[in-house]
Symmetry: C5
Subunit: 353 residues, 5 copies
Amino acid sequence: MARFLKSRLKAKGAAPGSLIFMGDKKMEETRVSLLAYNENEIFEQDYDSIDELLTNVKSGHVNWINVDGIHDTDIITKIGKEFNISPLALENIPDTGQRPKIYEDPGYVVLITKAVYFDREENKISVEQISFVLLDNIIISFQEKTGDHFEHVRNRIRNSVGRIRRAGADYLAYALIDSLLDNYLINLEQIGSKIEALSSRLNDNNNEISTLLFHYKTEISYFRRAIVPLKPLTVRLIKSDTKIISQENLVYFELLTDLSDQAHEAIDSYINMINDLINMYNTNLSNKVNQVMKVLTIFASIFIPLTFIAGVYGTNFDYIPELQYRNAYFIMLGAMALVAGVMIYFFKKHKWF
Amino acid sequence: MARFLKSRLKAKGAAPGSLIFMGDKKMEETRVSLLAYNENEIFEQDYDSIDELLTNVKSGHVNWINVDGIHDTDIITKIGKEFNISPLALENIPDTGQRPKIYEDPGYVVLITKAVYFDREENKISVEQISFVLLDNIIISFQEKTGDHFEHVRNRIRNSVGRIRRAGADYLAYALIDSLLDNYLINLEQIGSKIEALSSRLNDNNNEISTLLFHYKTEISYFRRAIVPLKPLTVRLIKSDTKIISQENLVYFELLTDLSDQAHEAIDSYINMINDLINMYNTNLSNKVNQVMKVLTIFASIFIPLTFIAGVYGTNFDYIPELQYRNAYFIMLGAMALVAGVMIYFFKKHKWF
Amino acid sequence: MARFLKSRLKAKGAAPGSLIFMGDKKMEETRVSLLAYNENEIFEQDYDSIDELLTNVKSGHVNWINVDGIHDTDIITKIGKEFNISPLALENIPDTGQRPKIYEDPGYVVLITKAVYFDREENKISVEQISFVLLDNIIISFQEKTGDHFEHVRNRIRNSVGRIRRAGADYLAYALIDSLLDNYLINLEQIGSKIEALSSRLNDNNNEISTLLFHYKTEISYFRRAIVPLKPLTVRLIKSDTKIISQENLVYFELLTDLSDQAHEAIDSYINMINDLINMYNTNLSNKVNQVMKVLTIFASIFIPLTFIAGVYGTNFDYIPELQYRNAYFIMLGAMALVAGVMIYFFKKHKWF
Amino acid sequence: MARFLKSRLKAKGAAPGSLIFMGDKKMEETRVSLLAYNENEIFEQDYDSIDELLTNVKSGHVNWINVDGIHDTDIITKIGKEFNISPLALENIPDTGQRPKIYEDPGYVVLITKAVYFDREENKISVEQISFVLLDNIIISFQEKTGDHFEHVRNRIRNSVGRIRRAGADYLAYALIDSLLDNYLINLEQIGSKIEALSSRLNDNNNEISTLLFHYKTEISYFRRAIVPLKPLTVRLIKSDTKIISQENLVYFELLTDLSDQAHEAIDSYINMINDLINMYNTNLSNKVNQVMKVLTIFASIFIPLTFIAGVYGTNFDYIPELQYRNAYFIMLGAMALVAGVMIYFFKKHKWF
Amino acid sequence: MARFLKSRLKAKGAAPGSLIFMGDKKMEETRVSLLAYNENEIFEQDYDSIDELLTNVKSGHVNWINVDGIHDTDIITKIGKEFNISPLALENIPDTGQRPKIYEDPGYVVLITKAVYFDREENKISVEQISFVLLDNIIISFQEKTGDHFEHVRNRIRNSVGRIRRAGADYLAYALIDSLLDNYLINLEQIGSKIEALSSRLNDNNNEISTLLFHYKTEISYFRRAIVPLKPLTVRLIKSDTKIISQENLVYFELLTDLSDQAHEAIDSYINMINDLINMYNTNLSNKVNQVMKVLTIFASIFIPLTFIAGVYGTNFDYIPELQYRNAYFIMLGAMALVAGVMIYFFKKHKWF
């Protein structure tokens, strides 16, 4: 859970609207870059400082400012000043303990979301906070570290795939959020295939399987926490009075609610699947142990009276008449065989094995 | 689950509105056919190409275009161009990873649904995506492979059963969706009878039954995923402003919500039934094992002190006075019988067996 | 479940509005009867054919037409024609696989309900479909077989108990539905007393009790399926624009929603009660088995070292010094008693029994 | 459950609005009393008959008529006639099988509620139906038997505590319902302290504790059934158009919804607490039994090979070389000690005990 | 639970609006202090009596009156009189059995909340009732005992951090409630880290872990009871017509609903986590016990037939031919080895160990 609920102790006593980085620093230097494009041209550049970048924002273009690293709150402050964004809206960006949330203003929208990865090798989920500031013809994205979340979108812009170069900043916003949601589905599918692989190993003897099943259940809950608050956000975005999103692109944002429904449904399915697998595993296990115990107990039960008979004739009484009959030993063996036979018959008849 | 959540990786980075086939190719060649009818005449024909078919669409008739095979996205593109359908609406048709959904436009409605089959022999569910495009006097249906989903409807048209020949394309749409829902109920009934058959085998000794119960639970969840989103779709169809559905036929679409309620209820009943059966099976099993173990333990417990007594008189001490009494052996046997009797009485009194 | 979800296969391919009997034929001949009354006179008669009956419907009276047997769809068709009722509304009457539902029209209301009986001797629930057609001064009731559902209402009419003779057909409709709901409560009470009887037998040793508990749980679910959809129906009846129900009698229909709430609540209570009883039974059982097993294991554990000691002195070594001491045998017995005593003390101290 | 769902069989066939006593007669004679007060004077009197009482109702006073005993339906009928109350509203008063409900009329309100007691000695809940008729300046309360539900309210009136003497009949109604709700909370607290007392006895060996826990769970459900329908009733009272409740006293009725929320929450907490205690008890129990069984099994396992070795040297073969060595016996003892030591080491190493 | 549902018995029969202290007295003397500030100056003083304090309230300043100790209801009464607050609103302040609630009046708002602490050393939750009276330029806070809930806010005022000195009393109210909510999150995080620490000890052998898990589950429920009613309160505060909260500060109160969502979500996560851990613990435990029991049973089963063979040759029959063969003893040992080997092979083959 600690991957979500970050220590708020650090900020205790800070006034609302204070920009305080809360989380684990995931990279050293922050990196800022600008991608400006319109239908005719495209301009892509990394900058050493945010000030330099901000002077290069191009009007008549869609400007996508990307900031990798949110621990340097100076950058966020400068962006806030440049575009007149309320500190209350900005304070969520460097605070990685936030739930996905939205801050609407007539002039801009701030969107806090989570990227969730499943690391197939470590069998673990990582959570990263991704924030977006949507302005009229500018999108600013904040990531905790340099990654490849949006490389596909970048390529579509570079290669002018689809309508992305002709559409405005709102369409870019859609493309970025869509890319995040797509990632959820892809990562869910990967964790899902891990779970399905476990389902064929339910008869294995060790308890590693149940540990793994509980582990995946916990990991999947990270997805839920990232996705569940996302749908109301997109709905609120669609219904909001903000003019950031143009009427003609609203239909794309409606697609996002479908995607988050799909992700939500997949999560529920996997949780149900894991619960059923845990139940099956337990049922199987107890069936098997019961089976073994029963067979062994029956086995022991057959020998118990036989050993008793042998014990009786092992006593050293001076006068045990049977001992003197010449064939008594064989009669005893026969009697033992008979007892064993009757018991086996009895157990079989009661379907005890 | 993978039968629902198809790999989205293939399409990653594609622009929205791109027609990309996602799923398992279930047939080689696509097949297109046209069934045009009005109250007086009926016209039925397979075509080699969609272009040829489109030139034969008859005005003044209800035209039902059926496409078997959705991997050839060219056909979908051509249909989209011919009838002016948005690529955003069309992109769901070849993507089998979609949930049932609806896309409304003043001029047309695109409906993505799922056909779900229970294969009695393989004890498995298959899921197929069936899409409908509803236009003014044209219905286009897309199936993943040639099948017999709609043969009953086709026959009703051919034999002019009921009002189908007199009614418009909207009534045909209703008949097709009704046919899908009917199929859900029939297939649910089949899986249901399988489950009921299991309920009489709960006392069997192997754990095949619990495996089967969990299996059916998983399989039934495919029905749920196909049916649950369907009811809001029909409701939205009824309430939508689209003029595709005429006022007089609205009552039929209301019947569909009843049918999906019925299917939904049946699914819940079966899930509850399976859960109860699993619980009963576990209770029965542990009752039986406990019973066996208890009887055997009691049996063993009776012999334990007897064997101990025999052991004592089997020791080789030089001086054990009892050994020399002539009837000591028989006294010992009598004492053993007494001990056994007392124990059996004690166990009986405590109702231990 | 099959008692609810009847085979829809028979009707596959039939057009909507077709009257097809689906269910088990519960009587041979259908019976039609008319009960017409007003404040002053009452007229009661069985007829051989529905045609004859229909000619005897009396204006200025409340006419209650009762049809026992729904497999003869001709009768339903004739009634439909006589009173101008849509085939879509009628098709539910002979289809016993329906959920309780309502069909409203400005001129009439068709109501499909279920009568649910608990047969105390067979410990089983039977479900029967009862349909009502409410017209202006006519009520038509359809039952699957001749029974005594409405005898109480009939008697109230005959004996002019309460306001029934002064009130209109809508009040009769209320009295009939009220009678059905009353029956639910009476039958629920009977099944409830069976369950309560079980609660005092939880300590019995056989697993018949758990089987019965699961059985009652399943049976009660039939009540739920009959009652749950009924409340929205009565609400819809109250809120509908139909003029079938007069303003002054609306208050009675509101009472019906209270009754169905009461029935619903009783069902939930019984389900909870059964679940608790099953849990208690399992807890009791495993407690008891554990207790027995523990006592026996402790008992065995005391004898195990004693038998070992006897075994040691039963070995035939040439030189075992102890064997030659005169009192060695008694010392051994004493040592055995000591070992047993120490073990019993140890077990007692740890509260193992 | 039978304490709630009383036999409706008795009334079967009765017309709605018939006053029929359904329940267990809890006292012999009915008692009627009048408490009339205004700011200046107070008048308190028991009467032999309701007729006599009704002639003494004082205008210009708040009149509180209390009826102990509801099996004498004549009294209810007379009250109904005197104050013009519909039989439909009155019929619920003598029917103890009712859920809490409300009947509103412009001129009066009939309120059916339940008093629930926890008898600490018998560890049982009793349920009593308390009904109120609220008129303009008259409150009529019906109780099943003479009790002390409202003694506190009576005392407040007598001692003129707070604003009760200055306020109208609606404030008295509030005070009475408030008193009922207070009683729920006090009784819940008593049952709660019983449950908490159990929580410290979870390690006891008998299964009395689990029986008690299940018992309390059932008993608490009676509270739920009394309280859950109460909140919507108070809400409906607040929102109703009836002029019975004056605008200035509405705030008090709002307090009632808070109280019922509090009671509801307490019930949920106790149910959760009991469920957790049952789970803990089961976990503890199975832990403890497992522990005992494991120790004993290990203990037995150590002696099994030792006894085998003794058995081998107890055989009577003519030629067993070991038997003749002078120290063989001691070597055997040593070997046995070694085997036991190795086994104990092995078990310790695997942390088996 | 008793920490929430305090004895209402004490107050039984009291009129509504009576100020009666209900709870545990947590400090001896009550302490009253005033903190008055505006943008330019700050004034902080403890007083001996509330009367003295009230004369020092400064107009033109934000006045924060803090009362530590609520058992002296005189103070509350005097405050009520001074600021014209209804006794109905005040009565909740000294009654610690209240749920969080709100009382709105055009002139003031009374807010009852709970502070919840997790004491890491005692592993226990303490609950304290904190009440606020919000007036135009005055905030009155009531605490059960002197504590440090609001020290951070006090410091922000003293050091003029953020806008707190420039904003009005409503902003101070926000800051105080925000501080409470922050505390929930910090305390939840602490209990969370305790739970996470347990998750790595699931393989420990004692049942202390399950006891702790159930303990934390109970403790967390105190948070839920404090937080769940808080969100509707803040929503009601935002939507209320009261002029206490200025339009420009509403945005801060909206932040509070986010915070309570976050706390709520964290609670749900921890409850789920604990449930999963309890299940895992139980699964692990029964796996381990089963493993041990199985190995031991197999071990015993191998020796049982061997001991039987030894027993047979330990009998004292006069004529047992085998005993006389010179190598019979070694043949017996060989046969025993063979039997053991076959059994081990059989068990291995069936994967029994």
